[in-house]
């Protein structure tokens, strides 16, 4: 009987995407209450409880972080390098935050999506959270930078399998231009707007409203909404 089988702690970490000013943002939390600077941010996450599936743990983290129940969420990878939590500072933080002698920590990473204009109602645990533009992500503890990087290829796969996730990132009323910029941000490349329009037209679940933009110094764009119920019946793809 082997004695060195691993007995470890397991955490979940969530990469929560938002979209604003034509840029993807990630929701980061402050790691320590006493150190308030942007080099002190991390992905939101938590150790999992003993009666909790990892999916449930991720939902709990998101609920505590945003006040939103049942957010869209997708597990994408388990990170388990033996030295992912071996940085002395990270180990000290684990000691203080959870309990001493966490000698190894495996994490399951999740993707999630949030309308960035939603009012977030942080509960206790997270002193401060912040939407950080993708271009300004600081160095983070553990392997959180790597997790974030891999989440970018995952969000593309996800949107290809299920367009509806795009609309999780947009306000309820949005313009085609916003949707277009979102796709450009996710794929990190220019997408021809004329061809883009043509792809949207056949999507019956993207429905034009009578309402238009107001107070813009150019032709006002029409607002659209996404009909989730109708979509869930017959799936579509962009």
């Amino acid at each position: 009987m082997k004695s060195n089988f691993i007995h470890t702690y397991v955490s979940v970490d969530c990469v929560v995407f938002g979209f604003e000013n034509n840029q993807l943002h990630i929701l980061l939390v402050q790691r320590d209450a006493n150190k308030i600077d942007s080099n002190n941010m991390k992905l939101p996450g938590s150790l999992i409880y003993d009666d909790e599936d990892v999916d449930d743990a991720a939902q709990r983290v998101l609920l505590e972080l945003t006040g939103i129940k049942r957010m869209k969420l997708k597990q994408f990878h388990c990170f388990a390098s033996p030295d992912r939590a071996k940085n002395p500072e990270d180990m000290k933080w684990l000691d203080q935050t959870y309990q001493p002698n966490i000698n190894r920590l495996i994490t399951v990473a999740y993707l999630s999506l949030c309308k960035i204009d939603r009012k977030l109602t942080n509960v206790s645990k997270y002193r401060s959270s912040k939407w950080c533009p993708l271009s300004e992500i600081p160095k983070m503890p553990f392997d959180h930078n790597r997790i974030l990087k891999e989440s970018l290829t995952e969000i593309r796969k996800w949107i290809e399998m299920d367009v509806s996730i795009a609309f999780e990132l947009l306000p309820n009323k949005f313009t085609i231009s916003q949707l277009h910029h979102l796709y450009e941000a996710i794929y990190n490349r220019k997408i021809d707007i004329r061809n883009f329009h043509k792809k949207i037209v056949p999507l019956n679940d993207v429905v034009p409203l009578d309402e238009k933009q107001e107070g813009v110094s150019h032709r006002a764009a029409r607002y659209y909404k996404f009909d989730k119920h109708s979509y869930n019946k017959r799936k579509m793809t962009i």
Copy 2:
């Protein structure tokens, strides 16, 4: 400080695909030495060691199982339901095989591929392993049946991202017919052979050999080989 954060064991389980007689097969291992029957099979797997990444653990399992180093391998999901190891028989087996009081077990599932005609050199640990046709998979312990089911959608995604994995399942010399049947098996639907040929032609890395089938009672099929090196330089897709 919460006391009910989980301190758990972590395992890897591998779904190893093979292909023979136009059917996908899965490599299963016998669970107990003393109970020799087909209702006693499971996915190959192992607890991970304390200095081991999950990827390495999966490689180790495959090495012990097949004698092959560095098999193609892809992590696809972490299964962590609190009651996935709560069946009394499964708990008893964990007790006996590893150590007592494994109260919770989380597993990370892997996909892998093997040429089914390779001679496997089992080492110690696995008394017996067996290629089981997909259509004859028995009821297995833990959530292994669910893991297997999810692996089927994963292998499609994988082959779409990287054709070369198809050739991991075929002999070094193969006919277009074999490749065709493999695709039909993976997608579980008929694929028009004429159109299939047309897709293969432009793939420069599938190279025709001078050799043909012998002793078949119909027109002999040409053998092809897959040029892995050439492929790795410029990726192609089917």
